[in-house]
């Protein structure tokens, strides 16, 4: 590929990181050009027009606004080009792929807790298979953190009170730094870990080694009964509550006439602050669970409801 011809070029560990590096190279090249021109002119003028140097200083030719207009226009065009390049790539990072794998990340002072759908959990580490898009669904238990993998040129803040997600994909197996990039208190610089990218087979082996007692969905199901959710949402309950089977990913009509897609964020909000978005045709009777469930429990409940997606209501 032609990028390999760029001096000092290293192939990135993912297609996206390679694109960002190319953008960086472009920015660097443009800046170097401007700087070189500027420093050359500064040096030239300083030497040529130093006081005492006998040289023609007669009135300049040409109108000054010609110069003004040209360098203003030149800057504007160059900036616009860089904007479009950067914005285009940025929107790329937010595209999602159909076959992605969901992994939950809970940030708290001062650790990263990762939950795989199969129930495997790990601290300050994230094991993923290569060549497979992974959707990280992230929540913070306390303050704002930021999930940063320099090798992938990606980061995203984890703001408390909402799910935030980020898709990553790694092509080269290896260990990569994971940093918290948003200042979060005393041990901020200790809130680091590693992303371990493995070949598919190794990853499968790693998953089975972890031998969790139950999957996230099963644990969520247990919580679902423990918190008494099943009393109303369960089959055959007396209270009329919306059925959750087959809900995930569908359009939900709300009482105020709008519709939303029942995604992770919606489920999260519906559990914590149920009455902010009431499903049409139901009474607003569900108590809010804000402050009653931790982010860890919450994500299990969400995974459980997700796991009901294939069931018939």
């Amino acid at each position: 590929m032609w990028r390999a011809w760029i001096p000092f070029w290293h192939a990135g560990v993912s297609p996206y990181s390679g694109d960002v590096d190319l953008l960086f190279t472009g920015l660097l090249f443009a800046s170097a050009l401007v700087l070189a021109l500027l420093f050359f002119l500064l040096a030239l003028f300083c030497v040529r027009y130093r006081a005492g140097n006998h040289i023609d200083r007669a009135a300049r030719g040409g109108k000054s606004w010609h110069w003004e207009v040209s360098w203003t226009a030149a800057s504007l065009v160059a900036f616009l080009g860089l904007f479009i390049w950067g914005a285009n790539l940025f929107l790329d990072a937010y595209r999602s792929h159909a076959d992605e794998l969901s992994v939950f990340v809970v940030a708290k002072q001062w650790m990263w807790k990762v939950q795989h759908p199969g129930g495997q959990s790990e601290i300050n580490a994230l094991h993923i298979p290569v060549h497979h898009p992974i959707r990280l669904i992230m929540a913070s238990q306390d303050v704002i953190h930021s999930f940063f993998i320099p090798a992938l040129r990606l980061k995203h803040d984890v703001v408390p009170g909402r799910y935030q997600d980020l898709e990553i994909e790694v092509d080269t197996p290896g260990h990569y730094h994971l940093f918290c990039a948003e200042y979060c208190g005393t041990e901020h610089s200790g809130m680091t870990g590693e992303v371990v990218a493995m070949e598919q087979a190794d990853y499968a082996a790693w998953l089975s080694q972890q031998s969790p007692s139950s999957s996230l969905a099963q644990e969520g199901g247990a919580l679902f009964r423990q918190f008494g959710c099943s009393g109303c949402h369960g089959l055959g309950s007396k209270v009329r509550a919306p059925p959750l089977e087959g809900l995930y990913g569908k359009q939900v009509a709300l009482s105020d006439g709008t519709t939303v897609v029942a995604d992770d964020k919606y489920l999260r909000d519906a559990i914590l602050l149920p009455r902010s978005q009431i499903a049409a045709g139901y009474a607003p009777v569900m108590p809010p669970f804000e402050g009653k469930v931790s982010e860890d429990q919450l994500l299990r409940l969400v995974v459980y409801i997700k796991s009901l997606a294939g069931h018939q209501p």
């Binding site: 694109d19 960002v20 953008l23 960086f24 920015l27 800046s31 401007v34 700087l35 500027l38 002119l41 500064l42 003028f45 300083c46 027009y49 130093r50 006081a51 200083r57 606004w65 110069w67 003004e68 360098w71 203003t72 800057s75 900036f79 616009l80 860089l82 950067g86 914005a87 790539l89 940025f90 929107l91 990072a93 937010y94 306390d142 303050v143 704002i144 930021s146 940063f148 320099p150 090798a151 980061k155 995203h156 803040d157 703001v159 408390p160 935030q164 940093f179 918290c180 990039a181 948003e182 200042y183 208190g185 005393t186 041990e187 901020h188 610089s189 200790g190 680091t192 602050l273 804000e290």
Partner: protein, 535 residues
């Protein structure tokens, strides 16, 4: 020293602390700022020593967090924001526009007292145990989690904010109302234009900081949070409010520096500034556009994609007037007759360093690259190139340039040039490695870091020690000149500005007769020599 100099108008403490003379108030500010600069500098020194090794060895994590918070708060609110406006601006603005004082002299004094009160409360917060939120005070960490002296710091900054507002108000009114007869807008020196633009930001952005700090204080005091996610508040709202102030505040910190550089470049190349009107309006364009870009601090925070796109676009646009200025300064040198006195060395250093800072700003405005670089040392290096490489360098340049006018004494040119060169090299050695650290992904505000980053950190710390020495030098030779320097003539640089038409140091009410202005600024050419401005 001439008998009627403002320095001879009284020798009692009362004549200083209850003065309404803008020149004396400038001196009060100047003394206070030196003090704050060295406190902030001491914190920076400790940080750089700690970061020479990857592990924690000098201070604990809590202490480290307090150090960088203190460095940020002191340097931003108690040094950079008031630096040029409140010292050089206070002193020079009325002189430059041919006025006898600022429009509201007692308000000016009140502004200094507010500044000192705010500074004292902030110093109390630091002495009592420090603040560990970073200068950005991000909620909910600052409101619900930090157990340091956030309240005191917030109150201190809140008070200092009113000092900024009063100064800005005073400048705006003064520049509108007190210009000498004949001094039309296009005859104003560009320093005035840039301070005018700065004042507009001071007046319109600082109140948002005030209200944001009130909200933080209330959330901390009563535990009820307008930003608290537990009751549905949004921490990002805090960031929007904070950066609505703090991004324009960056322009508060650089526009006055640009203003100073205009004066220096034109004086030492003996030429009028190229493209005067473009440079003048570029200042106002920066002040206005600077309000439209704050969201570029939040590209990875989870704000909407559309908002990110708009803010990125505006960030590129705001770079255009800065580029215009740089090109115009360079063009000013063309066919000049350039002298390399110390102030000119600072001005040339400013152009180089500001351009590097500005160009790396484009990297950060560029969405996809910002995702990688934000909250890393790349950002740290970028804004230090603007604030230290730009503003502090310009401040030193302006200080040397107007030193004879302010004190009536001449400093040692050799020492001054040596210091300027040392600052330039020390600065680059300190901060250029930080670009590399950031590009490689070292997050900012990290107390311990992976060992592979050490080599660049050691270089940076080494540069910082040179920079520390270089910043101490002026203290000595300028201090020496106060007592033993040669007497300065009224116009040592042979410059046409009104401030040079009165004696050095100026008399109490600046001008014996009201000056009348008959021509554009920066008329350095021989043709105007015979005909003084004040005719």
């Amino acid at each position: 020293m001439n008998e009627d100099s403002y320095l001879n108008a009284g020798y009692t403490l009362r004549s200083w602390f209850f003065t309404s003379d803008h020149k004396r108030i400038a001196i009060l500010y100047f003394a206070s700022l030196i003090f704050f600069f060295f406190i902030g500098g001491a914190a920076a020194t400790a940080i750089r020593i700690e970061l020479a090794t990857p592990q924690a060895d000098l201070v604990s994590s809590d202490m480290y967090n307090r150090l960088f918070t203190m460095h940020g708060i002191i340097m931003v609110w108690f040094f950079l924001i008031p630096s040029v406006p409140n010292t050089l601006g206070n002193f020079i603005v009325p002189l430059m526009i041919g006025a006898r004082d600022l429009a509201f002299p007692r308000l000016n004094l009140l502004s200094w007292y507010l500044f000192m009160l705010g500074g004292s409360v902030t110093l109390f917060a630091i002495a009592a145990g420090g603040v560990d939120t970073g200068w950005t005070f991000y909620a909910p960490f600052s409101t619900l989690y930090s157990n340091s002296y956030v309240m005191a710091a917030v109150i201190g900054i809140f008070i200092a904010g009113f000092s900024s507002i009063l100064t800005g108000l005073n400048f705006i009114v003064t520049i509108h109302r007190l210009r000498a007869p004949g001094l039309t807008w296009y005859r104003l020196p560009l320093f005035i234009w840039s301070l005018y633009a700065t004042s507009v930001i001071l007046v319109l952005a600082t109140p948002i900081l005030a209200i944001t700090l009130i909200l933080i204080a209330i959330e901390r005091c009563f535990g009820v949070g307008i930003f608290d996610p537990k009751i549905g508040g949004d921490p990002l709202l805090f960031q929007h409010l904070f950066w609505f102030y703090s991004h324009p505040a960056v322009y508060i910190m650089i526009l006055p520096g640009m203003g100073v550089v205009n004066e220096l470049i034109s004086c030492f190349s003996r030429k009028e500034v190229f493209g005067y009107k473009f440079v003048a309006w570029a200042s106002l364009a920066i002040a206005a556009l600077g309000f439209l870009v704050w969201g570029h601090h939040m590209f990875v925070s989870g704000q909407s994609l559309l908002a990110s796109l708009v803010f990125s676009f505006m960030s590129f646009i705001v770079a255009v007037p800065s580029a215009i200025k740089v090109f115009n300064w360079t063009a000013t040198l063309h066919k000049g007759s350039i002298r390399f006195d110390a102030p000119m060395l600072y001005a040339l250093a400013f152009i180089g360093l500001f351009t590097i800072g500005g160009l790396t700003g484009l990297f950060l405005a560029c969405l996809a690259y910002d995702v990688h670089a934000t909250d890393t040392y790349f950002v740290v290096a970028h804004f230090h190139y603007i604030m230290v490489g730009g503003m502090v360098t310009a401040y030193f340049g302006g200080l040397h340039y107007w030193w004879p006018k302010i004190t009536g004494r001449l400093y040692s040119e050799g020492w001054a040039r040596a210091a300027a060169i040392l600052i330039f090299f020390g600065f680059n050695l300190t901060f250029f490695p930080q670009f590399i650290l950031g590009a490689e992904g070292m997050p900012r505000r990290y107390h311990v870091y992976p060992p592979e980053f050490q080599v660049w950190n050691v270089l940076s710390s080494g540069g910082a020690s040179i920079l520390a020495v270089a910043y101490l030098l002026p203290l000595f030779y300028l201090g020496y000149s106060l007592f033993f320097g040669a007497r300065a003539p009224a116009n040592p640089w042979d410059a046409p500005g009104l401030e040079w038409q009165t004696s050095s140091p100026p008399p109490e009410f600046n001008f014996a007769v009201q000056p009348v202005v008959t021509r554009a600024p920066y008329q350095y050419s021989e043709a105007f020599k015979a005909e003084p401005q004040n005719a």
